[in-house]
């Protein structure tokens, strides 16, 4: 057996890995069932920071969303972007999209198309969100934005002068933003935003990043980075929190719209599973059948697939990691077996 393992063609390992990734994707894709997520304090801090942005100033928050990644990392990072835009849209924040990566504008377009245009069509470009596009210059761009944003960004991605965009009024530098939310795949990315924005101007910064970057950025949490999402696990946790928040917010909106006291609607919205039974109670007698159907749909309906990407990808993660652990154990067994035989290790 040891002899067989010693001479095992590495392509069998590739095939095993392909199966470990493919089969869960097929099963999850067909059944729609994902593994349960338990959010860690890092993901909760990320969510909380986005949620409370602008609260101290008592107005809609100005959130600078920097999508510094390209399609090569989209598998890991686009679930974070989708959930971030989803949360900001639901929360009513103003979103200012930028990218320090040349292919970043496509990632911005993707997020806008996938989330804002599909699920928040009432949001108006120029009033609720704006795409400032890509700027070359890496960390120098951040540095200049800290002093005068209009030096770097004179127009939006469509070429419209910033003075003609209503939501740009009063935005002159990084300090006019209540929060910087950054999704990073490398350089320039979270490190540069920490160095030249969060530390120098003391602006709250949250960042989602690839797994490769995460260990280097942990020391910045919780002072220089207020929230951190590491790799697909962080994305899945954050996605879970945001989906729960969206469901709760929509339920509360529907309950209040149906005439329920907000003090009663809030606790009820916290328990979506109780909603179908509640609609049959006397308290819901005044609701129309359509309103009840909408309420039940909001409480028990499936979350759109766009907002489950991260959680779906945790299935293949589990089996691929189990394979990796098995391979590491086997590798060690072979190593010690060879050493005992006196062969070269």
């Amino acid at each position: 057996m040891i002899k067989l393992l010693e001479n095992l063609d590495r392509r069998w390992i590739f095939l095993a890995m392909a199966l470990c990734v493919s089969v869960p994707i097929l099963v999850i894709g067909l059944t729609g069932v994902t593994f349960p997520e338990t959010p860690t304090p890092l993901a909760e801090a990320f969510f909380a920071e986005v949620d409370r942005a602008g609260e101290a100033k008592g107005r809609r928050a100005n959130v600078l969303i920097a999508l510094d990644y390209d399609p090569a990392s989209a598998g890991e990072l686009s679930p974070m972007s989708a959930s971030l835009v989803n949360q900001c849209s639901q929360r009513g924040h103003r979103m200012y999209f930028i990218s320090l990566w040349p292919v970043g504008p496509q990632m911005i377009d993707d997020s806008i198309e996938k989330v804002i245009k599909r699920y928040y069509p009432h949001l108006v470009y120029g009033e609720d969100y704006v795409n400032l596009g890509f700027k070359a210059g890496n960390e120098q761009v951040i540095k200049v934005m800290g002093i005068d944003l209009t030096t770097e960004f004179r127009t939006d991605v469509e070429g419209t002068t910033l003075s003609k965009i209503p939501m740009m009024e009063g935005i002159t530098s990084l300090e006019d933003f209540d929060l910087i939310a950054e999704i990073s795949a490398g350089y320039p990315g979270s490190k540069e935003w920490v160095l030249y924005a969060a530390t120098q101007y003391d602006i709250p910064l949250v960042s989602g990043m690839t797994g490769v970057q995460a260990p280097q950025n942990y020391p910045y949490y919780p002072t220089q980075l207020k929230g951190l999402l590491g790799a697909i696990k962080g994305a899945a946790e954050y996605e879970f929190i945001v989906n729960e928040y969206i469901r709760r917010s929509r339920l509360e909106e529907l309950l209040v719209a149906s005439g329920l006291d907000p003090a009663v609607a809030g606790p009820l919205a916290d328990e979506p599973a109780q909603i179908p039974a509640w609609t049959t109670s006397a308290a819901a007698a005044s609701m129309t059948p359509e309103a009840k159907a909408d309420l039940i749909d909001a409480a028990t309906g499936a979350t759109p697939g766009e907002f489950l990407e991260g959680q779906r990808r945790m299935g293949p993660q589990l089996f691929a990691h189990l394979l990796m652990v098995l391979l590491i154990i086997l590798g060690n067994v072979i190593f010690f077996a060879q050493r005992r035989r006196g062969g070269s290790a």
């Binding site: 393992l5 010693e6 001479n7 063609d9 590495r10 392509r11 390992i13 590739f14 095939l15 890995m17 392909a18 990734v21 493919s22 097929l26 894709g29 067909l30 090569a72 990392s73 989209a74 598998g75 890991e76 040349p102 292919v103 890509f134 070359a136 210059g137 960390e139 120098q140 004179r154 127009t155 469509e158 070429g159 419209t160 002068t161 920490v194 160095l195 969060a198 530390t199 120098q200 797994g211 490769v212 995460a214 260990p215 020391p219 002072t223 220089q224 590491g230 790799a231 697909i232 696990k233 759109p304 697939g305 766009e306 990407e309 779906r312 990808r313 293949p316 691929a320 990691h321 072979i334």
Partner: protein, 370 residues
């Protein structure tokens, strides 16, 4: 696991791999003929019709400005029948729609949604290049080489275009020659209100430095590039030094000077309170020990013997745990990327799964069962 992919394979191995590849090909071919097939992109044409609209300034009747006003198809047809096509501009935008919208339209007897050949070909090319890159795992082959060359070529071309339009045009030409830029490059830009700003002449310096950098391409003028390189290195060093001192040295040092005892969560259970206090304090202690031990490990002016050696050993353990965590995160990241590509193949291309509810779930399931 010593045999490498470049070593010759036995006939048994070759046969097994041939069966695996044949099975994949058969699944793809079979999938193409089941249900609604696979790998197609549908779009809905959306006419965009505009007419020029001239507005007169309320303050000064001689001041006019023109803009484009978008009209609906009915309004546009009425306008054209009355005024002709002069002062109009039209084009068609194609919005991608989920295939289920096309299937519903076909069931209802027709509509405006059509198959997009360019996007469908793009989808199949994406699938081909994905598989071509994966094929390297089997062994180096012409498909992989072709895909690799295309990636390199496209990336180089893309960078050149981006460099010109996002750096040279806005940062240089728009400042040094605004009228020229507006006329020939970026018609949407606004000319400076007071005419050419002479302070922008400072941008001649980067222009000259840029040309000097190109001197590297000429054997006798290579030395010219040293000046701009020195400028780049100098400014970057200065910029980064300030950033790193403030962020990585001062702030991180401050974060390490922490109380070793931390009061845990104030809960009703005394046991939980003590437990959380122990954990919170232990985390602080471990943090301080880790920082000091790692610093000692990298302090080579003293021989690592005795207490110093033991502390350095603890530092090594911390470093090893850090590398392990980094490796674990890297594996997680890479698997996520692989999962995304496999999802693309199964969902967008083969229509085996439908997590975005773009098609009909039953069709996808039947396809898989087949």
């Amino acid at each position: 696991m010593s045999s490498s992919a470049s070593e010759p394979m036995t006939s048994a191995q070759r046969a097994i791999w041939a069966i695996v590849c044949l099975a994949i090909v058969l699944i793809v071919v079979a999938r193409s003929f089941v249900g609604h097939g696979m790998g197609r992109v549908y779009v809905e044409p959306k006419p965009m019709d505009f007419v020029a609209e001239v507005t007169t300034s309320p303050e000064n009747a001689s001041e006019t400005s023109s803009s484009w006003k978008q009209l609906s198809t009915v309004e546009f047809d009425a306008y054209v029948s009355a005024n002709g096509y002069e002062d109009t501009i039209s084009w068609v935008e194609y919005d991608e729609v989920p295939p289920r919208a096309y299937f519903a339209q076909e069931a209802a007897g027709g509509g405006s949604i059509i198959l997009s050949w360019p996007r469908t070909i793009g989808l199949w090319l994406a699938a081909f290049f994905t598989l071509a890159i994966f094929s390297f795992l089997y062994r180096d082959n012409p498909f992989y080489k072709f895909a690799e060359s295309v990636v390199v070529g496209v990336s180089a071309g893309y960078w050149m275009v981006v460099g010109f339009w996002d750096t040279i045009v806005p940062n240089l030409l728009q400042r040094l020659a605004p009228a020229f830029s507006k006329d020939y490059l970026t018609p949407g830009m606004e000319l400076p209100p007071g005419g050419f700003d002479t302070t922008n002449l400072v941008f001649l310096i980067p222009l000259v430095l840029g040309f000097m950098l190109i001197g590297r391409l000429l054997p006798k003028c290579g030395w010219l590039s040293l000046w701009p390189l020195a400028f780049i290195v100098g400014t970057m060093a200065g910029l980064r030094m300030v950033g790193y001192i403030e962020s990585d040295i001062l702030s991180q040092t401050k974060e390490t000077v922490i109380p070793l005892y931390v009061q845990g969560e104030n809960t009703s259970s005394t046991f939980m309170m003590i437990w959380s206090t122990i954990w919170a304090s232990l985390a602080q202690v471990l943090l301080v020990i880790g920082v000091l031990a790692c610093l000692v490990y990298f302090f080579f002016s003293v021989e690592h013997k005795g207490a110093v050696g033991k502390t350095a050993r603890v530092g090594i353990w911390y470093l090893m745990i850090t590398f392990g965590a980094a490796f674990g995160f890297t594996v997680m990241g890479r698997i996520a990327l692989l999962a995304a590509r496999v999802e693309f193949l199964f969902d967008d291309w083969m229509w085996l799964i439908d997590p975005m509810q773009q098609r009909e779930f039953v069709t996808a399931s039947v396809g898989l069962l087949f």
